[in-house]
């Protein structure tokens, strides 16, 4: 490599500002937590981030080589926008290979924050010679990761009552939750994974029918560089385009950052989450012919479903994966689904176009719901989906979109632009239109409603970096629902406004304020209005301060308030305040965090969601609701290198409540506490 003076000077310059960045490096879980928090500000607890966390952890341990990075790999980091990925990939083409990771700072669209996050997952090495695979190496040079997690709610819940064990609603298994997982990775080219899980109340080696865990999931996958790009047998996820036709596994919507709104599809992915329904089971592969990528897939899988009285039609599918009561066990795997299809993608440097088509066959037909709002729901037992997706990068602007159609149903469209107008200003505009009779069981495109159907909307977002200390992110979204919805007996509309200001005073003190307003329409209660609907206005206000006391302790303090008002009735308030203490010494075997929180919400409507620290790979965003205090302590202890232990205890204590929870989960008393233990061994 021949240096000229200018280039060398540039490197020197970068080296001189390196210390600033090095200091900004955080510990593993901190970074991943930060990323997940950016991506999912207000998602409910039903979301499962474990697969993303796992992938980020993997790249934390095995950084991506910037000189050999692929688009797929960078996309898996989730927090990079398509424009940033394109500029990173074209950087080495234009300027020669990376010499140092700090060269990333010279990439126009990468702001300091993104660079700080990215350097945790990348490295620069000189090209290595081809590694030959031998069986010995496959065992010795590979990474193995075994993890066992158990947990339970300490108070007795109604479903476990021993008094009337024969009752229909009683849980058939023990209160313990058990998760066992194994991961095998060989230099990113061969991987295997196995998950075995039992939820609280599910049977476990304790009945004649059920021998073992309630849920098993696993796969073996190969990543190659020739014709065969990926090959997978077992459980997998498919993510194409903007998620209108096929997107299984985690997907994000309107978050508090700009990178998530334009979905970046990974195509075929090994499935590693413990969500028991949103995946495919069978075989798939991605084959490359010049610029064409061909991904055929086949899946045959059972789903939990309840039937109509005669048992000939499906009334509802259950995605919870819970098999605790007799009826839940009865409904288990009642329905069988067969999915087959393919995706073809043309990839060039700037333009990618993909075509997806697949068919879903169910063993039993779906019945039509009785309510008017269910008129356009899926019926029958055969569904064919078609879709075209595209993305195109021109200078500082990225165009993306997808068009989809379900046979005998409607169409859906999503189109957007993401542009970095200047290195400090980014803009996203996105339009969507989903027909009321568009059906896809794997539709996860951006939407206001929980299902991306019967909706049209326009989303615009602006991200401003004023300087290295101040930044602002804001979005607005206007949406319409042309057909009725559950609890909305007329066509309705609404909007959402979000604004967040971040102030990073220094590397120890960070201040964050956030405002979110959501205005929707819902059936009115009592009062007669011309449309039968009333406006529901929900506003969230949040201030968060995090500060490092010394190199061991840091504090985080959040105050959040919710104001909820329906129609002209009196508004209600919800309030949450918590204090986190994070203990993370530089080189100690013990680390952990503690939260003490107080919450007071007038009802379910003014509940507040907040992210909680958990044992590694587990992430929860529970709702704080009612009046009470919340406490948890979460600790990690490294016995020896590669052998870690986690322990978490949490307690919610409510004021003025004699029971907690409902149904089978109900507890007599005002407390609910939960314990969780986890062991991981890596070798």
């Amino acid at each position: 490599m021949n240096f000229n003076g200018k280039y060398f000077g540039f490197i020197l310059f970068l080296l001189s500002i390196m210390p600033h960045i090095v200091c900004a490096q955080d510990d593993d879980s901190d970074i991943i937590e930060k990323i997940l928090d950016i991506l999912s500000p207000d998602l409910g607890d039903e979301q499962d981030y474990s697969d993303i966390a796992e992938r980020l952890n993997y790249y934390r341990k095995h950084p991506i080589d910037l000189n050999n990075a692929t688009k797929d790999q960078l996309q898996e980091l989730i927090f990079l926008s398509p424009i940033q990925i394109n500029e990173i990939l074209s950087h080495s083409l234009e300027n020669g290979p990376f010499i140092n990771v700090y060269e990333l700072q010279s990439i126009r669209s990468l702001d300091i924050e993104s660079v700080n996050l990215l350097i945790n997952f990348v490295k620069v090495t000189l090209p290595t010679s081809f590694q030959d695979l031998t069986f010995k190496k496959l065992v010795q040079k590979a990474d193995h990761d075994i993890m066992v997690r158990i947990g339970k709610i300490l108070e007795r819940q109604a479903g476990f009552s021993t008094l009337a064990n024969s009752k229909e609603a009683n849980y058939q298994g023990s209160a313990w939750r058990v998760l066992t997982r194994y991961r095998y990775n060989f230099s990113n080219s061969l991987a295997a994974s196995l998950n075995m899980e039992k939820d609280a109340g599910e049977q476990f080696f304790d009945s004649s029918k059920n021998k073992g865990f309630d849920f098993y999931s696993g796969n073996i996958s190969i990543r190659g560089s020739g014709v065969v790009k990926k090959l997978l047998i077992g459980d997998y996820a498919l993510q194409f385009g903007q998620g209108l036709v096929m997107w299984s596994g985690s997907g994000f919507g309107k978050g508090s950052g700009i990178s998530t709104i334009a979905k970046q599809d990974f195509g075929l992915k090994p499935y590693s989450s413990v969500n028991e329904s949103m995946f495919l089971r069978g075989a798939s592969g991605t084959f490359k012919f010049r610029k064409l990528f061909f991904t055929p897939f086949f899946s045959k899988k059972n789903l939990d479903a309840s039937t109509t009285d005669q048992g000939k039609e499906i009334s509802t599918i259950s995605f919870s994966g819970l098999h605790r009561t007799k009826s839940e066990i009865e409904n288990k795997s009642r329905l069988s689904s067969t999915i087959y299809g393919a995706h073809i993608q043309f990839n060039s440097k700037r333009l990618n176009i993909g075509f997806t088509s697949y068919q879903t066959q169910f063993s039993l037909p779906f019945s039509i719901g009785k309510s008017l709002y269910e008129q356009y729901d899926f019926r029958g037992n055969l569904l064919t989906n078609l879709g075209i997706n595209y993305d195109y990068n021109y200078k500082n602007t990225y165009f993306f979109g997808e068009m989809a159609h379900s046979k005998n149903g409607g169409s859906a469209f999503i189109n957007g632009i993401m542009s970095s107008l200047s290195p400090r200003v980014s803009l996203v505009l996105m339009h969507r239109r989903y027909a009321k009779n568009y059906h896809s069981f794997f539709n996860q495109s951006v939407s206001e409603a929980s299902n991306p159907v019967n909706e049209s909307g326009f989303y615009s977002a602006l991200s401003l970096k004023f300087d290295s200390k101040w930044d602002l992110f804001t979005y607005s979204d206007f949406f319409r629902f042309p057909w009725l919805k559950f609890r909305v007996n007329a066509p309705s509309s609404g909007y959402e406004i979000f604004a967040q200001i971040n102030y990073k005073m220094n590397k120890k003190l960070n201040l964050n304020t956030r405002f979110k307003q959501q205005v929707r329409e819902e059936n009115s209660e009592g009062i007669i209005t011309h449309s039968g609907l009333e406006t529901v206005d929900k506003q969230n206000y949040r201030i968060e301060i995090s500060y490092g006391i010394n190199d061991r302790f840091s504090f985080r303090n959040r105050v959040e308030m919710v104001r909820y008002q329906k129609g002209n009735s009196k508004f209600e308030l919800g309030f949450l305040n918590y204090q986190d203490i994070i203990y993370k010494p530089m080189s100690s075997r013990l680390s952990g965090n503690v939260r003490f929180g107080i919450f007071d919400t007038e009802s379910f409507n003014s509940r507040i969601y907040a992210y909680e620290n958990d044992v590694l790979y587990a992430y929860s965003v529970p709702a704080y609701q009612g009046k009470g205090v919340r406490f948890y302590v979460n600790a990690r202890y490294t016995l020896i290198r590669g052998f870690d232990l986690w322990l978490r205890y949490s307690l919610t204590s409510y004021y003025d409540q004699i029971t907690v929870g409902s149904g089978g989960d109900q507890i007599n008393g005002n407390k609910r506490s939960d314990i969780r233990m986890q062991i991981r061994y890596q070798f």
Binding site: L421, S422, R424, V425, L462, S493, Y495, I497, Q517
Partner: protein, 264 residues
């Protein structure tokens, strides 16, 4: 019937949005207290203090795509060294209802960092079968430079709470607004306003201008209450400028706005 309905709706929304900004400001969420162009006469006349050549501009806005309901306006700015004078004329309404305003403004820039302005307005309101009335009000505004690319502005309208004496219930809104403008680069300008109307509420606005090429700019914005989305573009050719904008109200629809200016 249609007109009565519209009046009813418009009185509720227009009272808050009576500033009737030029299309450049309108397309940026109708923010513009810290913006500087000839149409500043409509929302903060301090914004004309840096104008160095006479400018004449004409504007037209159709409200909610209704055939009858529209605003016509004309502004003229003439500088005499540091002293900048502005004239504005503005008519809003339809055959049975009209509001007319004429204003004269004086603005001055002090040391390049501070611009002050005062404006005198004459209002006339006439409603078919109810009669007409007139009133005089005063506006004042300032703009201050924090740095080369960062300006703040504030504007107060009708602080003395003047009203139409002969038509009870018809008021001239008293408002206070505060705005910032931040130039991220030569191409990107972001502005934001907080607009408070006495007895009516607070609106927050945000707007963005992107100068794609030297003579062509794209704009967009939102305002929070009432929630509206805005978009527009501007074309400049020698001394001519054409600005086109539209606001979109969730229930009432689109309001296109167009203006043309010539610099002497």
């Amino acid at each position: 019937m249609k007109c009565i309905c519209l009046i009813f709706i418009l009185f509720q929304t227009e009272l808050i949005a009576q500033i009737s900004p030029g299309p450049r400001s309108l397309s940026m969420g109708s923010a513009g207290v810290a913006l500087k162009d000839v149409w500043s006469l409509q929302h903060n006349s301090a914004g004309i203090a840096e104008i160095r050549r006479p400018i004449f501009a004409l504007g037209y806005e159709r409200h909610f795509s209704d055939q009858d309901l529209s605003t016509q306006k004309a502004v003229f700015v003439i500088p005499f060294k540091q002293h900048v004078f502005g004239l504005s004329f503005h008519r809003y309404g339809f055959s049975e209802y009209s509001e007319q305003t004429a204003g004269i403004a004086y603005s001055r820039n002090f040391s390049g960092a501070l611009a002050l302005s005062i404006m005198l307005k004459y209002h006339q309101l006439s409603i078919y079968k109810y009669g007409s009335s007139s009133a005089v009000s005063v506006d004042a505004g300032l703009q201050y430079r924090i740095s080369d690319r960062f300006w703040i502005g504030t504007h107060i309208s009708n602080p003395s709470n003047s009203r139409f004496q002969d038509l009870l219930g018809s008021t001239i809104p008293s408002s206070l607004s505060f705005g910032v403008s931040f130039e991220f680069s030569d191409k990107v300008l972001v502005i934001s306003d907080i607009y408070m109307v006495l007895n009516a509420g607070i609106d927050t606005k945000l707007g963005l201008e992107y100068r794609l090429i030297k003579w062509f700019a794209l704009r967009g914005g939102i305002s929070a209450s009432p929630f509206k989305q805005y978009a527009g573009f501007g074309i400049q050719h020698h001394r001519f400028t054409l600005d086109v904008a539209s606001s979109s109200h969730p229930n009432l629809g689109y309001s296109p706005n167009l203006a043309f200016s010539y610099e002497f």
